[in-house]
């Protein structure tokens, strides 16, 4: 079950590229175990480090003023590519709770919701305004505002994040519906049911 999210007040790190894929967020070589933890070291490893494991001081995430930032600002199509949920686990373990982008890879977006991370879609010009703010930015999910700018989020996603809810628990309440559906479904096409 994810931690509930209501407000976040933090610096925002701009990594303003389009099409940042999940291979870039967490390269395959950094996924070293069958766990949801131990991944933050590998976050953006291809950009964060140079040589072996030396800190790349050109990469904004490494700048001292962004230490502890919980908000990430990016471009279009953030989190496209591989479905690997390790991308979100690496971001959360590093400390990020809010990702702002012009658009997101769909699987990545859903993975954020499942892990208590708020993905915010904003036009590029709004993101550019947020980049200019050099102090803490406030994100309020209840009022759907980031740095005074309104954002949209679907009702069920907002509900999941605010409550830190577990989708399986919610769906278990619909088990009667599922079983009724399934009986009719298999009656109509028995071949769909494997023994």
């Amino acid at each position: 079950m994810a931690e509930s999210l209501t407000t976040v007040i933090s610096k925002a790190v701009p990594i303003l590229r389009d099409n940042i894929d999940t291979d870039a967020i967490i390269p395959s070589r950094e996924i070293k175990g069958v766990t949801k933890t131990g991944l933050s070291e590998g976050l953006f490893a291809g950009w964060r480090y140079v040589g072996g494991r030396e800190i790349n001081s050109d990469f904004l995430l490494n700048w001292p003023q962004f230490k502890g930032a919980q908000i990430l600002l990016s471009g279009a199509n953030f989190g496209c590519g591989s479905s690997r949920e390790q991308a979100v686990w690496a971001l959360t373990e590093y400390g990020f709770r809010v990702i702002v982008a012009e658009s997101f890879g769909e699987i990545f977006y859903n993975n954020c919701i499942a892990n208590g991370v708020l993905p915010i879609r904003l036009p590029g010009r709004s993101i550019a305004l947020l980049v200019k703010i050099d102090k803490d930015i406030e994100v309020n999910l209840e009022t759907q505002k980031i740095g005074g700018i309104s954002f949209d989020i679907s009702k069920p996603h907002k509900h999941m994040l605010l409550g830190g809810l577990d989708a399986i628990d919610l769906t278990h309440r619909s088990m009667d519906n599922i079983e009724t559906f399934e009986r009719a479904y298999f009656a109509k096409q028995p071949w769909a049911r494997l023994k």
């Binding site: 590229r17 389009d18 099409n19 894929d21 291979d23 870039a24 390269p27 395959s28 070589r29 996924i31 070293k32 175990g33 069958v34 766990t35 949801k36 291809g46 279009a76 199509n77 496209c80 590519g81 591989s82 479905s83 690997r84 949920e85 390790q86 979100v88 658009s103 890879g105 769909e106 699987i107 859903n110 993975n111 499942a114 892990n115 679907s154 009702k155 069920p156 509900h159 989708a167 399986i168 919610l170 769906t171 278990h172 619909s174 088990m175 519906n177 599922i178 559906f181 399934e182 479904y185 096409q189 028995p190 071949w191 769909a192 494997l194 023994k195």
Partner: protein, 465 residues
């Protein structure tokens, strides 16, 4: 009754109920897992105490992290790789799901073996915590990638909570020219409309040129729907689909088969059904295509030149790939050639590459690797002598798996190495830190391996491809 699209029919048939706020509860028929993202889902479920509702509808394979070198075992070159294999095996057994393990003759890449086994069928919903699950939409199924947590949800409840995507039609009219493939079609689409051109859409591929494709080529086409940003891709089932699936181990048999076909024949999009977006393309205008940058939208014709930068993303891609605008694509020397992946490692792909390689040699100094998409494909290829052609040409001939489509097996091509690859992603570092990937069809990969620089099969005088 109003006219419906294939997608709408699939959705309606699986919608359990509407949920508050616009999502639907969608029934899921089949769940596939692999050792990289599936093992962690199985372990997490066991820890949280959730039971798999229908373990007989859940399958697992070892493809992502397993070694593909001959004589392989649970050991991998990847640090910690063995854990993924052993933990997934233990968790799959404990959960009672069917596992196509190392050494099992059915083992292979998930999206290759699911059709081989008849696990995906027209009219079903099938998911896997793997973005290329859309490959299986080629059979007229609603097949899509999800995250590991959603896989847990599907295992625990046989459903997903999900917003309905919008239907899009991508219509390829006309006929492909000789030597042009489904890979070229999908690269053409993505490079024309962008890597997010399909965002929010479930895409139906249709038109004469799509009907003319065999099932394996339809899989290639649907495979890269996710590279177009789409929720999934699909092709309406037809006689080719039924012929391909008949008598597969998990396909219905006897009267069930007849009943299933009767239902499948009603899946095709009705005349007059509405799509939210339609793209019309002339297949006759598609030519052999290769990516030049680090997004599948950055493509050029095999005989073309590296384009002028139009934005800072292009600048970054050019710098990463070590390229200058105006360079001739066929002047680019390749250090390595890779034929493999869920995109292009089926038998027809290996045949197309072998046709180019027959009687030819890979250019000295070029590393060349072929990894069949499944163990069954490897055996079939060997039965017709394709392995001999590959090996005599200078290719490594490997065991089945995802292999160097990405680094997960622990192998990479090396920083700065230029790789021509039949895979689906040319992202930075995808094939190893600093590696420079150009994606293309198997025939183009084989021809480039022989020439030592990027070129098409026709440049070597091979015209069937």
């Amino acid at each position: 009754m109003s006219a419906l699209t294939l997608f709408e029919k699939l959705w309606q048939a699986h919608k359990v109920c509407s949920l508050d706020g616009g999502e639907d509860l969608l029934y899921i028929d089949r769940i596939f897992l692999h050792e990289r993202t599936g093992g962690v889902a199985l372990v997490s479920m066991a820890e949280s105490g959730h039971k798999i509702r229908r373990p007989e509808h859940v399958f697992a394979t070892m493809d992502h992290i397993v070694d593909t070198l001959p004589g392989r075992s649970d050991e991998t070159k990847m640090p910690g790789g063995k854990d993924f294999i052993t933990i997934t095996r233990r968790a799959a057994k404990a959960a009672g799901v069917t596992l196509f393990d190392l050494g099992d003759e059915r083992q292979g890449i998930v999206h290759v073996i699911s059709p081989e086994q008849g696990i995906v069928l027209p009219g079903l919903t099938i998911i896997c915590p793997d973005s290329h699950t859309c490959t299986q939409g080629a059979f007229g199924a609603l097949a899509f990638g999800i995250g590991s947590t959603q896989a847990e949800h599907a295992m625990a409840t046989s459903t997903l909570r999900i917003s309905k995507p919008k239907p899009m039609l991508v219509h390829f009219d006309g006929a492909l020219k000789a030597g042009v493939t489904a890979k070229d079609m999908i690269l053409h689409l993505i490079s024309t409309y962008g890597a997010a051109g399909g965002r929010g859409y479930a895409i139906e591929f249709a038109g004469l040129a799509v009907r003319a494709l065999d099932m394996e080529a339809r899989m290639t086409l649907c495979n890269m729907a996710v590279e177009f940003g789409a929720f999934t891709g699909m092709v309406a089932p037809d006689e080719k689909t039924y012929a391909w699936l008949k008598d597969r181990p998990y396909a219905p048999k006897g009267a069930d088969w007849d009943m299933a076909i009767a239902g499948w024949q009603k899946l095709a999009t009705d005349m007059g059904a509405q799509f939210d977006r339609m793209i019309n393309l002339d297949a006759g205008l598609v030519a052999p295509t290769v990516s030049w940058g680090t997004s599948p939208a950055q493509c050029v014709l095999v005989g073309g030149t590296i384009p002028v930068s139009k934005c800072k993303e292009d600048d970054k891609s050019l710098a990463y790939m070590g390229l200058e605008p105006g360079q001739k694509v066929n002047s680019l020397t390749v250090d390595a050639a890779f034929i493999g992946s869920c995109t292009n490692a089926r038998l027809s792909d290996l045949r197309a590459a072998a046709e180019v390689l027959k009687g030819r040699q890979v250019r000295g100094g070029t590393r060349a690797i072929c990894v069949p998409g499944s163990s069954a494909i490897k055996r079939a290829a060997e039965a017709e002598g394709l392995d001999i052609i590959f090996k005599q040409a200078g290719f490594e001939w490997r065991e089945s798996g995802c292999s160097m489509c990405f680094y997960a097996g622990g192998e990479g091509f090396g920083a700065g190495k230029r790789v021509i690859s039949s895979t689906n992603r040319n992202f930075e570092g995808r094939q190893g830190a600093g590696a420079r990937t150009h994606i293309a069809s198997p025939a183009t990969v084989a021809a480039s391996a022989v020439a030592g620089h990027i070129c098409g099969a026709s440049d070597l005088g091979v015209h069937n491809g």
